[in-house]
């Protein structure tokens, strides 16, 4: 049984809606066949990760779609880019790289995508509802959409997202189906409930452990405290999607499709211990005791709630160290008190993120962060060492001018 296409799919493939749509359909069909899909399904929205510049090939592909007359046919948001269009002075890309990055962003806007420039599209007002079929790129957005919103997307790579947006179709496979969304592993955090309620930094560490033990499997986490909120689950999912290939998890008591404890009785189970979280902290940090040069928070992009929390933790105090916060222009707008943060010395970064483009001052060697994802990728991307800590400790460290770790 190969891939069955509808008449409309075949018409797109044959170029009846232009060469851009045909190119998108060829890529979609090749991917669907490789995934073993039986057919394609309609999607309601897309989130495109391909707008971050990695080299000429990304621009060549986007321009081939534009030149072929393609347009997105479902609402489509855009992920972070290499530039901060609101604070251009922050990014130290050379002129040529910046021009290419901007050309890539322009090409995606020309395809009809919304210039949202955020890795947290689930924080925008119009987000997918429970059960909707979508095609999202960006690993943290994928895991959040599946797990917390109950929308359905596979773990797609760059290019598939825009091809799905242009054709309105995606492979009917994996996490798009009921079967693909069932838990096959239990991760017990029951013994950590009090600790998680007391220290939010444990969510990204738990996510790191989840990524290591679950890898590609859908796990059901038990024992998260009732205080667990969306921002906690965001941090957990982003960490799991960096350390592993996690595209969905269930949190019993928190997420909409979580199974009952009875349904989990026969599954393989892993009990997370405090020692496992400490090991995760060592893997993600490793520069404890070193003198820190900067502090980075907001990976994935801070929500307006988290910006407000940052403001409240700073409480008007001035930072001795550069404190960068990554957020979306929408969350910043919603928060509305950016100037108060800036008055404390906070450097607000939008549209991009401090670990994917040169923003930190030359000579920055050690950075403190509250993000497991930032901690995971920054050493290779930026050549820095990392101290991992809670948001509160990150703020206290920026104010004190040295690392403050309270656990």
């Amino acid at each position: 049984m190969g891939l069955q296409l509808t008449a409309a799919d075949r018409a797109m493939l044959a170029g009846e809606e232009g060469e851009g749509v045909a190119l998108a359909m060829r890529v979609l069909v090749a991917t669907a066949e490789a995934m073993g899909a039986g057919r394609l399904l309609d999607i309601e929205s897309a989130h495109v990760d391909g707008c971050l510049y990695h080299g000429p090939s990304g621009l060549d592909f986007a321009r081939a779609l534009v030149d072929g007359g393609a347009r997105v046919r479902v609402p489509t948001t855009l992920n972070v880019s290499s530039l901060d269009l609101l604070h251009p002075e922050l990014v130290r890309l050379d002129r040529r790289a910046a021009d290419e990055a901007k050309a890539l962003m322009d090409a995606y806007v020309a395809l009809g995508c919304r210039p949202t420039w955020t890795c947290a599209p689930y924080q925008l007002p119009e987000r997918p509802r429970l059960g909707s079929q979508i095609a999202w790129g960006e690993s943290n957005a994928i895991v959040f959409a599946n797990s917390v919103l109950g929308a359905r997307t596979e773990r797609y790579g760059d290019f598939l997202d825009i091809c799905a947006a242009v054709t309105g179709r995606a492979p009917e496979v994996g996490l798009h189906t009921d079967e693909g969304r069932r838990a096959s592993l239990v991760v017990r955090a029951d013994g950590l409930t009090d600790a998680l309620a007391a220290n939010e930094a444990l969510y990204p560490l738990l996510g790191h452990v989840l990524g290591r033990v679950a890898d590609t499997r859908v796990a059901a986490i038990t024992g998260l405290p009732p205080s667990t909120g969306e921002d906690h689950l965001k941090a957990l999912g982003a960490a799991a999607a960096s350390a592993g290939s996690v595209a969905m998890f269930h949190a019993v008591g928190s997420t909409p499709e979580a199974p009952t404890l009875d349904e989990l009785a026969d599954l393989e189970a892993v009990t997370v211990t405090a020692a496992m979280l400490e090991q995760a902290r060592i893997e993600l940090g490793g520069a404890d005791g070193a003198e820190i040069d900067a502090v980075c928070v907001g990976t994935p992009h801070y929500s307006s709630r988290e910006l407000e929390r940052l403001r409240s933790l700073l409480d008007g105090r001035r930072c001795r160290l550069p404190l960068y916060v990554n957020t979306s222009r929408a969350a910043l707008d919603d928060f509305g008190r950016g100037p108060e943060l800036e008055a404390c010395g906070v450097r607000i970064v939008t549209d991009t993120c401090t670990y994917i483009t040169p923003i930190l001052a030359p000579g920055t060697e050690v950075v403190m962060t509250d993000s497991a994802k930032w901690a995971y990728y920054a050493p290779a991307n930026l050549g820095v060492r990392v101290v991992f800590g809670s948001t509160k400790d990150c703020v206290e460290s920026a104010v004190a001018g040295e690392a403050v770790i309270t656990w």
Binding site: V27, G36, S57, G58, F61, S139, D158, F159, A241, S242
Partner: protein
Amino acid sequence: MVTTLVAGYGRGPVLRLDEPLSFWGGVDTATGVIVDRHHPQAGETVTAKVLVMAHSRGSSSTSSVIAEMVRAETAPAAVVLLDRDPVIVLGAVVARELYGRAMPVVVVDADRYERVAAFRFAEVLPGAVREVGHTISSEMHG
């Protein structure tokens, strides 16, 4: 079973990855060197290798990095997977569309995976992965 996900021909020394890899943030596009310091094969080069890996990990930008490596001629000669990984396939498919160069991608069952991983030098072609460069060659067809 050897299932062809992206058809093409590639040959080279075998590099087995002991853990999944995110190409984005994990491989230097210009040199093909694995730079993910968490990865057991950090420091190895993927360029022109027959890369034997279960599946990719982490960032969805891995597809972009693979397409860019094919363009820059720093890509693996072929990829042999244990799982049908759309992220790897997408990079190869888009590079083939843009530049007409095919980096073959195949998926094999667990038993063959172990055997291929033990090859020193291999070639990948539609429906088959073969050990080459030795007097005694073993052959695997789909």
